[in-house]
Assembly symmetry: C2
Homo-oligomer: 346 residues x 2
């Protein structure tokens, strides 16, 4: 029953085997406004089954003029921040007959544009840009331009992070989260802060620094710019930035790393330097990466529901057709105090 002509089975093969026309076979398999008689439909389905027919998605896309492909562009899929978002997207996509094409810029944000072009070539119905926006006008302009073209082609674009582009956006409240964190840390009695700030051009990093400074300011605490050290948004970046800070560590009582991955690097650097956390120094991160929840001492951080972020982005993709104006969803973080900062004085 499962004879298999060499090469792909086409709808014509199915139709021939069922003894019906192409049109009928198509209608039987995909449903349509038109109805197909029960006997014929059965014949077609049986034929398709026995031939292991899988409709050629390219041909369907051509005929229908649309695809079921969604692009997901991240900066680094190995980074748990992005892989969590990706997991959220994949889970939301489950059962929606959508295929997700993954793009990884390898931390070169200008490559987002290349992926946008490639995904336009695929006639993707949407693309999710998961990475932080940059403070880099040439790149941003090129991206904006390419987004226009993509949308003009009928595609939908969803950004995650900052509302910087006129597209559907899942805004992550970095500023607010960092502000809350600062407030809590001051509440714990910390006063002299250092910040491992990430790349300055990365708006996610910058927003967190700004928010943190703002939160300190509201509590009447100053952040000395000399104690704000920039570095890569990675474990090694955190390690390195922390090492820089360690020269003057005596003047500090708490360090905020703008993400957990950096915080872990910083923790290692502190340990190598003989510092004990939180006894000698408080340390806080951002994101609450689940893989990192078991580091010891446990990181005080700002919890971001990253999988939900991904899922929300995907929902925006699905519902895009019903909207004419870009929509914004805000996702808030929640401060989680753990052992990497001293216990509450209460």
């Amino acid at each position: 029953m499962a004879e298999q002509p060499r090469g792909s089975v086409t709808l014509m093969d199915v139709a021939a085997r069922a003894g019906v026309s192409l049109a009928t076979a198509s209608r039987a398999l995909n449903g349509s406004t038109r109805r197909v008689g029960d006997d014929l439909r059965e014949r077609v389905l049986a034929a398709a089954r026995s031939l292991n027919y899988a409709a050629n998605a390219q041909a369907q896309a051509m005929a229908r003029g649309r695809t079921n492909v969604v692009g997901l562009v991240v900066h680094d899929i190995a980074d748990p921040y992005f892989s969590s978002i990706a997991a959220g997207v994949m889970e939301a996509a489950e059962g929606h007959q959508v295929l997700v094409t993954l793009g990884s810029t390898l931390r070169r944000p200008e490559r987002e544009v290349d992926y946008l072009v490639a995904l336009r070539g695929q006639r993707s119905r949407a693309v999710i840009l998961a990475g932080s926006r940059m403070d880099d006008s040439p790149v941003a302009d090129a991206l904006r331009r390419e987004i226009d073209i993509f949308e003009n082609d009928g595609g939908n674009v969803v950004a995650i992070s900052q509302k910087q582009l006129p597209v559907d956006t899942v805004v992550i409240e970095n500023r607010l989260g960092a502000r809350d964190l600062a407030t809590e840390l001051v509440g714990l009695g910390y006063r002299r802060f250092g910040v491992l700030a990430g790349p300055d051009a990365l708006l996610t990093a910058r927003d967190r620094v700004h928010g943190f400074r703002e939160g300190l300011g509201r509590s009447g605490v100053d952040l000395d710019p000399a104690f704000v050290v920039h570095g890569a948004f990675t474990r090694d970046g955190g390690h390195q930035a922390m090492s820089t800070l360690l020269d003057r560590i005596g003047e500090l009582d708490c360090v905020f790393a703008v993400n957990d991955v950096m915080a872990v690097g910083a923790m290692a650097a502190a340990r190598e330097h003989g510092l004990e956390i939180p006894r000698d120094l408080g340390l806080a991160g951002f994101d609450d990466i689940s893989t990192l929840r078991d580091v010891n001492p446990a990181l005080t951080t700002v919890r971001l529901p990253l999988e939900k972020v991904g899922a929300t982005a995907f929902e925006l993709v699905l519902s895009a057709a019903e909207r004419t104006k870009p929509s914004t969803r805000r996702i808030k973080g929640e401060v989680v105090l753990r052992q990497s900062t001293r216990p509450s004085p209460a």
Copy 2:
């Protein structure tokens, strides 16, 4: 210069604007055996640029009879094991004009078959099955059957993990790695072992347990089956399995978790139980997940070059055309002793 008709620009638009035929426009843009005169080629390229032309990949796929899409199917993209492999794949794909479609089975291995069908519909030129094979005949049979069909359609399949299917495979030497680890642990003086074994049906987990037992055996040490606890292949699985073991922890001096993620969960469980590692108990993992390298105490583990695994898989995809027989690449792990086990007696 950048006027943009609404909807997609087609090759016909480009040809018309350049005042040449469709055939010439196609040849100028994509190269071909036939050459196009310099002046005409320039005209075509200029037209394409000014119209923001991006070739319809679906149409190209139809006409050419092949695509540049490669599928990557993992069990859970949020798991650092898989996201590292994915990163390796993405990096290797860089610059090869290949688009990667991501599939996530959400830890339901039977869904691999569904993805295979979907990717066959896309006429993917290859698919990488990154997850462990299972000891589950119905599922394995269905998979084998679908792989046959996929390959008969001209696609190439690459598996990562066990050589269990007649396809190109990146074999991970789980057994060997676990054996070496056992030897080293015995060398450190440990004698009474417990194992957090993961799901029994998962061959990766099972191989590691077998290898570990084998290694112990070679050193004349027995592994009491009562101390082999199965559980999920996740952090929580490790935590839970460890909790089970903790009742009889007095009889053990070292625990091997079959992957790092479980080891970290186990470490948390031990800590909650008041045990100090490595003073009260040695603990070892497997994989050497980079995100987890900074846990404290640092994990003794078996380092797997996961990004290289992904990259190797991708290379197999690229070189598939030149082979007729399935090829196998073996990737070995390397024992890394760290602070979660006691220092060498030497």
